[in-house]
């Protein structure tokens, strides 16, 4: 029984790997006091460009780096508008997500005209080991290792280092931080670019780390779920990780329902809806969040 529960938890972590990576990246931006609802967009661009570059160069590492660069570029424009020009943080993210969806769909549409169905598989990272579930085999690759390392690392950097102190300072009391000589906008922007790179890496985990093809809008709301995990985790690294693993488990349940053809009311579609419903319920029944004091409030100071 214990081993069954362990296996269940493990599949939860495996299913939640991209989400875990992204949420760990996202929590840094939220702690620096910026609302980042553009995770969906950077993840999608990361997923596409890592796939596209990996398949055209034949080198999976180029794909990974290219994907991360694409996430940084998109986050740069997003952060430029939001952090330096103080545009509305929600509306800007909506626009960025639209750009990401339109851009990746268009490029993919043009790219798939030049390839036949058989050779649209990109190179990818091989599984380190495989878990046999009887009817299905789940591969585990180093993205999982990375995700697990990122949990304590993110916690350590935010809570125990001077960099983390600066990040928390601009998130809580930006004006006080500025008088201490911290450049508020620069710290927030660097956090934002880091999150862009990490969420693009999470996107790469979906394509070159998993299925090795790109499907239009394949992130399907994971960026918003990652954000929900951060709110649920009360803006802490460990809480967020817990939220992401819970989401992974709900995805694992969905997959079990599909693989083992369990019959549930409403069938397959209910299974697909479930992770979203669980996330929503988690959000509703979580304690009222303790957001950083200056969270989602643009910095009005004069320094550049």
């Amino acid at each position: 029984m214990l081993s069954a529960i362990l296996l269940f938890l493990l599949t939860g972590v495996i299913m939640g790997t991209p989400l875990l990576i992204m949420a760990m990246g996202g929590v840094v931006t939220e702690r620096s006091g910026t609302l980042n609802l553009g995770l969906e967009g950077t993840m999608l661009t990361g997923a596409f460009f890592s796939y596209y570059i990996a398949i055209t160069t034949g080198n999976v590492w180029y794909g990974l780096i290219g994907g991360m660069v694409s996430g940084i570029v998109l986050a740069f424009f997003h952060g430029l508008a939001m952090i330096y020009w103080n545009t509305n943080q929600v509306v800007t993210a909506v626009a960025i997500n639209m750009v990401a969806l339109g851009l990746t769909n268009t490029l993919m549409g043009n790219f798939s005209k030049t390839t036949s169905a058989g050779n649209n598989i990109s190179p990818g990272f091989d599984a380190l080991f495989k878990i046999n579930l009887g009817e299905a085999i789940i591969g585990v690759n180093w993205f999982l290792v990375l995700a697990i390392i990122m949990i304590p690392l993110t916690w350590f950097v935010i809570q125990k280092t001077t960099v983390g102190l600066a990040i928390r300072a601009v998130g809580e009391y930006p004006t006080a931080a500025a008088t201490m000589g911290i450049r508020v906008r620069r710290v927030r922007m660097l956090c934002f670019l880091y999150t862009g790179a990490i969420s693009a890496l999470a996107g790469a985990a979906l394509t070159i780390g998993d299925v090795r093809v790109f499907i239009n809008n394949m992130t399907a709301g994971k960026g918003f779920i990652a954000f929900a995990c951060i709110v649920f985790g009360r803006y802490t690294a460990l809480g967020t990780a817990f939220g992401a693993i819970v989401f992974g488990i709900s995805e694992a349940i969905r997959n079990y329902i599909q693989i083992f053809a369990w019959s549930i009311p409403g069938g397959y579609m209910t299974a697909i809806m479930m992770p979203y419903i669980i996330t929503l319920l988690l959000l509703i029944f979580s304690k009222k969040g303790v957001a950083p004091k200056s969270w989602a409030i643009p910095y009005e100071g004069d320094e550049d």
Partner: protein, 368 residues
């Protein structure tokens, strides 16, 4: 001054947005001139094309208004997509189920629309309440609800679902009862432009009137502009924002019913995918002005209507129009703030220069 700014930002957004997306298209190996030519032919090139553009603009006008009232009140309804789908489901219960077949049209059409608005309103209430009374970010809640509702709709039109057309394998509902289809305007001149256009235009006038001529509109704008000041002035911000979300959702639901009764004539899996998100683009391009929504909805309606022709003429993937939308919206947002930032920087520079000159004068006087 205010009016000039609200025209400059959208124009700046349109021009720069179209330029940037053209460059991206060139990089991806297609010809943007051909693409926009195709878009034009498909959206304004013939009477059929124009009526197609208008049909696409109808739900965008209503959805755009739904977005405007929420954004003006400081709560961001990103859930028009889900509310529209849920409303369409509610409307379809009356419009497609056999038990309501014998109702006279003057009862059944309004009934169907009202049910749709109630469904949409319920879906608007959830994020509104959670935001106003629990402080849960409305964007996440509405996005999650969008996904849930879209899947829920496909589930219900699939075999086994309560709206599924019995005896078929297709994922669709029964057709809308003949008597309940919305009448077509300009019979013989423009094809299929339906009464929904009138409904949308009437709504534009109502929303414009409420927002600019009534006390409630003033309260909404006060909350959106300065929530703290509004609360000090004794406004119940939570209650007003919740109500606004209910109305916003109801309007999205109305758009869903109009789409079903006037255009699609049956509920199909993912029949209106993207309309909700496009409504956000419509509202932002219109600088949140209810009257300007008409033009911005026609522009985005034209992008959609011209899609097919563009695909055929220029061999550009249809999602290119989505890219154009996103980039245009981004630069509209940027265009609204950039003039202020530039003028602020210029003021700082001028002040610095004046200070330096003053110093020189002083030094000169001292030397003399």
């Amino acid at each position: 001054m205010k009016n000039r700014e609200s025209i400059i930002a959208p124009l700046f957004g349109l021009v720069v947005g179209i330029l940037v997306s053209s460059i991206l298209l060139i990089i991806s190996g297609s010809n943007p001139i051909l693409a926009f030519q195709g878009l034009y032919v498909g959206s304004f090139g013939s009477l059929g094309a124009i009526s197609n553009t208008l049909i696409k603009a109808i739900p965008l006008i209503i959805g755009g208004l739904a977005v405007i009232i929420s954004y003006k009140s400081g709560i961001f309804n990103v859930g028009v997509e889900g509310q529209l789908f849920f409303g369409a489901m509610g409307g379809s219960i009356i419009a497609t189920m056999p038990m309501f077949q014998d109702l006279p049209a003057f009862i059944s059409i309004p009934l169907s629309i009202i049910v749709a608005m109630i469904f949409g309103g319920i879906l608007g209430f959830i994020p509104g309440y959670l935001k106003a009374y629990r402080g849960i970010n409305e964007v996440v809640v509405t996005m999650l609800l969008n996904y849930i509702i879209i899947f829920f709709l496909s589930q219900q039109v699939q075999p086994g679902g309560f709206l599924h057309e019995t005896g078929t394998k297709a994922n669709q509902s029964n057709p809308v009862h003949e008597a309940m289809r919305l009448p077509v305007l300009f019979e013989g001149l423009l094809t299929k432009v339906h009464v929904g256009l009138i409904i949308a235009l009437v709504l534009v006038v109502i929303i414009w009137f409420v927002m600019s001529r009534t006390a409630i509109g003033f309260k909404m704008k006060a909350i959106g502009l300065n929530p703290k000041a509004a609360e000090y002035a004794g406004m119940d911000m939570s209650l007003i924002q919740t109500k606004v979300m209910i109305v916003s959702g109801a309007m999205a639901g109305l758009a869903g019913a109009v789409e079903i009764l006037g255009y699609h004539y049956r509920l199909v899996d993912a029949f209106a995918l993207g309309i909700g998100y496009n409504s956000i683009a419509v509202a932002l391009l219109a600088s949140l002005n209810p009257i300007a929504v008409i033009f911005s909805a026609i522009f985005f309606g034209a992008l959609q209507a011209g899609n097919n022709t563009m695909q055929i003429i220029a061999e550009v993937p249809e999602s290119f129009t989505r890219l154009v939308q996103g980039v245009v919206v981004f630069f509209v947002i940027a265009g609204a703030v950039l003039p202020k930032i530039i003028s602020k920087k210029m003021t700082i520079k001028r002040l610095a220069k004046e200070a330096v000159e003053e110093n020189h004068v002083k030094e000169g006087q001292e030397n003399a």
